[in-house]
């Protein structure tokens, strides 16, 4: 930006800057000194060390999980609502027929690799059979382990 100013104005501005400039820098330095000498301001959480005390919020959406009772029975009726609600088809509800010929859940396949943890499946489930758990330590070297079968038992019915 070119401005037309007189020489006097130029020098006035120059000397003003010589005063205000260092002062403003000192202000900045005072903040960093304040932060440097105040260890209470350190906010770092030390993750692998604080594993024992680290808790996610109750609504935290981690991995999908099937709610099972002590015997391993689940509430899933293989209706497929979650499958339809999933934005990227990360859930396969594979139904089978039980001994009475009734349609029950055979295998609940969950493709964690593509799951975006949006929680729409949980919202869609009419029977509250699934939930998002608090698991966040999920790194793996083998992508095949990311395809999981959630149910331990066949569905009831």
């Amino acid at each position: 930006m070119q401005e037309n100013i007189t020489l006097l104005q130029y020098f006035k501005r120059y000397f003003k800057r010589c005063i205000t400039g260092p002062w403003s820098l000192m202000c900045g330095l005072s903040v960093s000194l304040k932060y440097f000498f105040d260890p209470r301001r350190i906010v770092t959480e030390q993750y692998p060390e604080n594993r024992k005390t680290l808790r996610m919020h109750p609504r935290y959406r981690g991995r999908l999980e099937m709610i099972e009772d002590a015997d391993g029975n689940n509430h899933c009726t293989a209706c497929g609502m979650c499958e339809r609600a999933c934005p990227n088809a990360s859930i396969n509800v594979l139904s089978t027929k039980n001994i009475a010929g009734k349609k029950v859940l055979g295998r609940y396949v969950y493709h964690f690799a593509s799951c975006t943890q949006c929680g729409l499946c949980v919202e869609a489930c009419p029977f509250g059979a699934i939930r998002m758990n608090q698991d966040f330590e999920v790194a793996t070297t083998d992508p095949n382990t990311l395809e999981m079968i959630l149910n331990k038992k066949e569905g009831q019915g």
Partner: protein, 383 residues
């Protein structure tokens, strides 16, 4: 010796000029620390001075609009998180308001308060990232960490409320997915008190700093006419002297019930764009304080749950996100759960379009400053 003009310039370059120096071309990006994502800028340089700039988009074009055509509306809300990921919660609202217009459902008072509060928290989060990136791109790494330090607290609140730090997927037509927990209001209050202190330090750290002033005043000036012509919005437009904020111009949600100012600056340079965002953090804090005072203790937080089905028609919504005007245009050709087409107008796209206008004649270092003050989010441009 006068060099002949370039007989064939690379695509996009238009200025024909005769020089007696040698011009050369530099590519910034797609992997470059200061392009804020996968953006490629082709620079035509004369020494260190930029003659012309051509942005190349599409390095993060993910075909969201095509994908949306086979998704249900609810699923698109989840997808919209990934546009402007700095304030995903604001994208959600933009989509949801368009859906509400189609479904013709309203939101109870408490739901509106939740919306406004989360919106403003999102705005503060985005502006804090701006503060960090502005300082960081100028070379002061410490600012980057300062900005993110307070942002983490917002993430914490968001995670407690919505269940996720970034991709919230929280709002639904008629309200939101959950009620806020009891700890929400005290936490926001504590956060505001903390932020007030912190902002004082941060402004002291950067706002008056002579080097920052030297590097940002008079740099990347966008005149009022240009800003309007290029379709800029949000802080960039307001820094150029246009008082336009959707919250005031076409108030959505319950923004008309709050007392807040629309900060306007008139020089349109980098420093004004910086100041305006700092001022907006303070305005957002003002709105949040009013929300805390008026927050309804009980009452419904959402209206009756309905399947999300839109009648035939075209629905348009616009909201003011931290970056500017975020518009969603939903076309429903058949009554049903799936859109015929959803189009999103992200605020960053016009800003980058105006970039060429702003950087001509400046240095490479100024380009970094200007990019930082435009605060673009590239996935929102490319979608």
């Amino acid at each position: 010796m006068i060099q002949p003009r370039f007989s064939n310039l690379p695509p996009g370059f238009r200025i024909q000029r005769e020089t007696n120096t040698e011009e050369f071309f530099i590519n910034m990006g797609p992997q470059h620390p200061s392009t804020h994502g996968a953006l490629r800028l082709a620079l035509r340089m004369d020494g260190e001075t930029i003659v012309e700039l051509v942005p190349h988009f599409g390095y993060i074009h993910r075909g969201m609009e095509k994908q949306a055509e086979s998704m249900s509306y609810l699923q698109y809300i989840a997808l919209s998180d990934r546009q402007d990921y700095l304030t995903a919660i604001q994208n959600n609202l933009g989509v949801v308001i368009a859906l509400e217009k189609g479904m013709n459902v309203g939101v109870p008072e408490k739901g509106e308060y939740i919306r406004v509060m989360l919106q403003e928290l999102g705005r503060i989060a985005s502006h804090l990232v701006f503060y960090g990136c502005f300082g960081g791109d100028l070379g002061g790494q410490t600012c980057l960490l300062f900005g993110f330090k307070e942002r983490e607290m917002i993430h914490d609140i968001l995670e407690e409320v919505t269940g996720s730090r970034l991709t919230t997927n929280f709002f639904r037509p008629g309200g939101s997915r959950y009620d806020v927990p009891d700890t929400f209001i005290p936490r926001v209050k504590a956060f505001l008190d903390h932020l007030e202190d912190a902002m004082r330090d941060y402004e002291r750290f950067l706002s008056k700093n002579i080097i920052v002033l030297e590097r940002s005043i008079g740099i990347g000036v966008l005149s009022k006419e240009d800003a309007i012509a290029y379709g800029c919005s949000g802080p960039v437009l307001r820094a150029s002297g246009v008082e336009f904020d959707v919250r005031r111009a076409n108030p959505y949600s319950i923004y008309d019930q709050f007392d807040f100012d629309i900060p306007v600056f008139h020089n349109g340079d980098c420093y004004d764009r910086y100041k305006i965002r700092i001022a907006e953090i303070h305005e957002s804090m003002k709105i949040l304080r009013q929300c805390i005072d008026k927050f309804p203790k009980d009452g419904p937080w959402r209206s009756k749950e309905k399947p999300v089905r839109l009648p035939v028609g075209r629905y348009y919504s616009e909201i003011e996100t931290a970056k500017g005007l975020y518009a969603t245009y939903v076309v429903a050709a058949t009554t049903g759960e799936k859109p015929y087409r959803i189009h999103t107008r992200g605020p960053s796209f016009p800003h980058i379009a105006a970039l060429n206008k702003m950087v001509q004649g400046h240095k490479v270092s100024d380009l970094v400053t200007i990019m930082a003050t435009l605060d673009p989010v590239i996935p929102e441009i490319d979608r």
